[in-house]
């Protein structure tokens, strides 16, 4: 039987993972690290008060001993996923927090699986096909989040013989319904377009937008924690071949917005795709002469959109084999997600 210890269990993906683990007959118990001081137990889930920013996660000795005795599988999800944070801040949780988890669990005798939930974008500014078992050989990163996650991957690979790396693409909605439980930089970019404040995005003919649903990633991570014979494997829980070209994505989004008559009448232009240098010139011009509103909006995207100028396709063969299917293609949920984002009514969505 499996006893799991999860960090980041209260987050968007973490909740999905816990739910998936709990329906498995092989899972006896799930310990979920939470920063909430109260310790709760609901069914087979037990909250454990702690913080990855603190040595030993701040766990009392008795709790630590109990976990050391019982835990067979670690799933380390806790992360700071903000793209705009400084490298120092990103490392605090993403790298150093992982190091603390590794140190804490180093001598727990019953662990047979140590799952690190990473991001597919540890590939950074690399282009082309990114294979799943590629170790990080980034040519720089678009933001500190990517770099700190890459550094953490290295720590896990070096410290554990039983590692599994689960690399997620960017999550944009809960499931195929397109419902959005948590906003991120992708949604902010779309909101800028909707607000008529997005003239251009960097990219190339080959740029593809790889995004996924929480449901898919949660399912993948749970399987990575439970499946046999996956030690020392890396999985890309990504849209992969189902990613949408940037041009198509801009068009689909624009068409979705156009279904709202009030928006259509504004005549807001579809953002153009341009090279990164031009985009940077525009950013600089806005910095020099734009309003604080637009400067702030562009700053919020500056750690995310440059990634579009480094086209890549994520190989998902291992993840597909694990799950027995590919991820839902982006086209299966993007329009519905867009409708949710801008409050299009069901009637508009149906049209």
């Amino acid at each position: 039987m499996t006893t799991c210890f999860l960090t980041g269990a209260t987050g968007l993906i973490g909740r999905q993972v816990v739910a998936r683990l709990l329906v498995s007959p092989r899972v006896e118990r799930v310990y979920a690290l939470t920063r909430r001081p109260r310790v709760e137990s609901v069914g087979s889930t037990h909250s454990v008060h702690g913080d990855v920013r603190v040595d030993g996660l701040g766990l009392p000795a008795d709790v630590r001993d109990m976990l050391a005795r019982e835990v067979t599988t670690v799933v380390h999800l806790a992360a700071n996923t903000e793209f705009s944070q400084s490298l120092e801040d990103a490392r605090t949780i993403n790298r150093d927090g992982t190091l603390r988890m590794l140190e804490l669990t180093a001598d727990w005798p019953n662990i047979t699986r140590w799952v690190y939930v990473s991001t597919a974008f540890v590939a950074g500014l690399r282009t082309g096909l990114i294979k799943e078992n590629d170790r990080v050989q980034a040519r720089g990163w678009a933001n500190a989040y990517e770099q700190s996650k890459a550094e953490a991957e290295d720590l896990v690979r070096e410290a554990r013989p039983d590692w599994v790396i689960a690399r997620s693409s960017t999550v944009v909605c809960d499931d195929l319904s397109g419902t959005i439980s948590q906003m991120n930089a992708v949604h902010r970019a779309l909101r800028l377009h909707f607000g008529g404040l997005a003239p251009m995005l960097p990219g190339t003919d080959a740029s593809r937008v790889d995004v996924v649903t929480t449901e898919y990633v949660g399912r993948g991570i749970a399987l990575a924690a439970l499946a046999r014979d996956v030690a020392r494997k890396t999985f890309h829980f990504c849209a992969g071949a189902g990613a949408m070209s940037l041009d198509e994505l801009l068009e689909v989004s624009h068409q979705a917005f156009l279904r709202a008559p009030a928006w259509q009448r504004k005549g807001i232009a579809r953002p153009m795709r341009t090279d990164l240098e031009t985009y940077r010139l525009f950013e600089a011009a806005v910095h020099d002469a734009g309003s604080s509103r637009v400067r702030q909006a562009l700053r919020s995207l500056s750690h995310f959109v440059p990634q579009l100028a480094f086209p890549k396709t994520f190989d998902t063969r291992a993840a597909d084999a694990l799950l027995g299917e590919t991820a839902p293609p982006v086209s299966a949920f993007w329009q519905r997600m867009t409708n949710h984002l801008v409050g299009n009514t069901p009637a508009v969505e149906a049209a």
Binding site: L197, P199, M200, M272, A289, R293
Partner: protein, 324 residues
């Protein structure tokens, strides 16, 4: 007979006085820092002191008729696209007083009609164009071309004269702005500068161009809409992008042109941008002022394909394709 309207003559008039952007900044006439405007390519702008918009309009049109030996009675139509009513006859320092005249019967004192008289355009019908801001002269040329084709007119004189609003300083969204007038003669069968294509897009949502809450949206909309209008203009002429020899700009910031041309996939080396520093942006006819100087200087040669583009408050994006 195959009608091929084109531009056979251009003249322009600028005020006697000009100011550097640093002088304008010192006088409190700029919103932005002078250094920023200099970085954007601006050095001097023309500032009318003793002239009225009408004075400059008359000067530009008179020069055109004289320099090109045009018999005034051969002009079939006058298209005036400039300062309205009493404002056309006021020096900048009197503009606020003159604006009150727009509320009495002096509103009907029209510069266009007076031009017809002062220039002895005895056979010219008179039309006025308004509300196209910096695209007004392009709109006038489009209309002149249409009149040549539809009504068989031989010669249409387009005149634009605009001063930047007297109480608005000298900066229009980070562009140093000049007072000026421009006159363009469109002939039914011209040997030069044939108008072979044109596209105009108006987006009414952005009608209040200078309202602070709308500036961001206009700035964002400007680039993709401009790039698409330029593409459509090129296509309307049956050209491809590589065939364009020159781009005659409106004299907005060199930086914004750099961004726009990259976005449009057109080479910056083909932008005729020498007047941005010298004159700055005029509301009355940057593109044709530039074309005149480019023709005089020999940069634009017969047969060159010239893409003209301007944006004006309102909000209007207009492109013309000319075969020099």
């Amino acid at each position: 007979m195959n009608v091929r309207p084109g531009i056979s003559a251009i003249s322009y008039a600028v005020p006697a006085e000009s100011r550097s952007v640093r002088e304008l900044a010192a006088a409190g006439s700029l919103e932005s820092d002078a250094v920023l405007l200099e970085r954007f390519g601006f050095e001097r702008v023309g500032v009318a002191v003793e002239e009225t918009p009408y004075d400059l309009a008359l000067a530009a049109a008179s020069d055109l008729l004289r320099d090109h030996h045009i018999d005034p009675s051969s002009i079939d139509a006058l298209l005036y696209a400039g300062a309205p009513g009493a404002l056309a006859f006021a020096k900048p320092r009197d503009a606020l007083t003159a604006a009150r005249a727009l509320c009495d019967t002096r509103r009907f004192e029209f510069a266009a009609t007076r031009l017809q008289f002062d220039l002895s355009l005895d056979n010219a019908t008179v039309l006025g164009l308004d509300q196209l801001a910096c695209t007004a002269i392009l709109g006038a040329v489009r209309m002149a071309r249409a009149l040549c084709i539809a009504e068989g007119l031989e010669r249409v004189l387009c005149v634009s004269s605009e001063f930047y609003p007297a109480a608005a300083g000298r900066e229009a969204i980070t562009n140093g702005t000049s007072d000026a007038a421009c006159a363009v003669l469109v002939e039914r069968n011209a040997n030069r500068n044939r108008v072979v294509g044109g596209v105009s897009v108006t987006k009414g949502f952005y009608w209040s161009g200078d309202r602070a809450s709308m500036r961001d949206e206009i700035m964002a909309s400007y680039f993709p809409t401009a790039a698409r209008v330029m593409h459509r203009t090129i296509a309307s002429a049956g050209w491809d992008k590589a065939a364009v020899n020159w781009i005659m700009p409106h004299n907005v910031s060199a930086t914004s042109w750099d961004i726009l041309l990259r976005l449009a996939g057109l080479p910056n080396a083909r932008l005729w941008n020498r007047n941005i520093a010298r004159i700055g942006h005029t509301l009355s006819g940057d593109n044709f002022i530039n074309l005149r100087d480019a023709l005089d200087g020999g940069a634009v040669r017969a047969g060159d394909k010239v893409l003209v583009f301007s944006y004006g408050y309102g909000a209007h994006w207009t492109g013309l394709a000319l075969e020099a």
